[in-house]
Symmetry: C2
Subunit: 194 residues, 2 copies
């Protein structure tokens, strides 16, 4: 498995010397996750933050009626975790599984904490990517409150053109917050309009 992508990812926000790079890499576990296999089940305590090397994962919750609601897609070069469970070390409400055969690098929470102290640059790195997640999440929340399903779908298409091609429509419906049937109707209306 080519593990360099994670160093490239990190280098977007902080600069590591080669010793720090080696130290960091030594903390990671590699893992292959086949399609439909789980990295985390709800009610488990999350012990890792994951970086996706290849494939695509998703995090989602299941409501009282059994419907899935996708919080995040994580294709290659993305980080994914159940932040609530990881930080509180309480059982979480999220599931994380693979939408296709995938390879991930796992950073244990305990090692992450040591990193923050040993190499403060890592605290900076995770601060920055957490800030970016927060900004994206806030925008998505406002979009959910102010836009119609059709507008949210169009924004999704623009924002994630790659995912549109590789991810089932059902999954996209679950991300933008509509039923698969309704997304199907939106799309057929949209095509007719042209």
């Amino acid at each position: 498995m080519n593990t360099e992508p994670i160093l490239l990812n990190i280098s977007r926000h902080i600069t590591l010397n080669s010793k720090e790079q080696k130290q960091f890499m030594s903390l990671l576990h590699t893992k292959k996750i086949r399609k439909k296999q789980f990295l985390l089940h709800e009610n488990e305590v999350s012990r890792y933050v994951a970086f996706v090397i290849s494939g695509c994962l998703r995090s989602y919750s299941i409501d009282k009626n059994g419907f899935e609601h996708i919080l995040q897609f994580a294709p290659a070069d993305w980080w994914i975790a159940d932040m609530y469970s990881l930080i509180t070390q309480q059982p979480g409400h999220l599931n994380i599984d693979a939408l296709e055969d995938s390879e991930v690098l796992l950073l244990p929470k305990s090692e992450q904490e040591k990193l923050f102290t040993d190499i403060p640059k890592f605290e900076r790195f995770f601060r920055i990517i957490t800030e970016k997640s927060l900004i994206a999440n806030q925008q998505r929340l406002l979009d959910n409150m102010s836009l119609t399903a059709e507008q949210r779908y169009k924004i999704f298409c623009k924002s994630y053109p790659t995912l549109i091609k590789s991810v089932a429509q059902k999954q996209i419906a679950s991300y933008i917050g509509v039923t698969p049937e309704f997304l199907s109707k939106l799309r057929s209306d949209y095509l007719k309009a042209k």
Copy 2:
């Protein structure tokens, strides 16, 4: 103005010695904001993160139809900012104004950045509160996707019992994502059911 609350707030996550406390306090500006006055307008570049000493602020966006959507309430002891604008230093989409006469402490972004380098504990502090914001935001997003307006209102009442009493119903409607008229109906149905 009593400025100790901010030190108490910070001490929940990091420990500062008295020199660090003084250094930090020297960076802050105090500001009084009367009800309906703005701390930040949309299309401005945000230069401060604010901590609320007294009163209550809110951040919100205005959609194409002129409707407000509240992203955050910030009563005493809360931090508030337009994270997008603050971090990117681009014009933002959020307004921040006061729901009642308020007092805030402002930390300039430039000083915050210096703090991160000079006293890495502050980088830790802001990492932690950003993580907490992210977790709360993710839960709110999932709630918006999976719950009815009535369920969201009940959760709001439980989560923010103080705000229910001090904030106009219209503002709460705008936070949970319904029209004021509909929230009024929800509440009257709820009372009748008893």
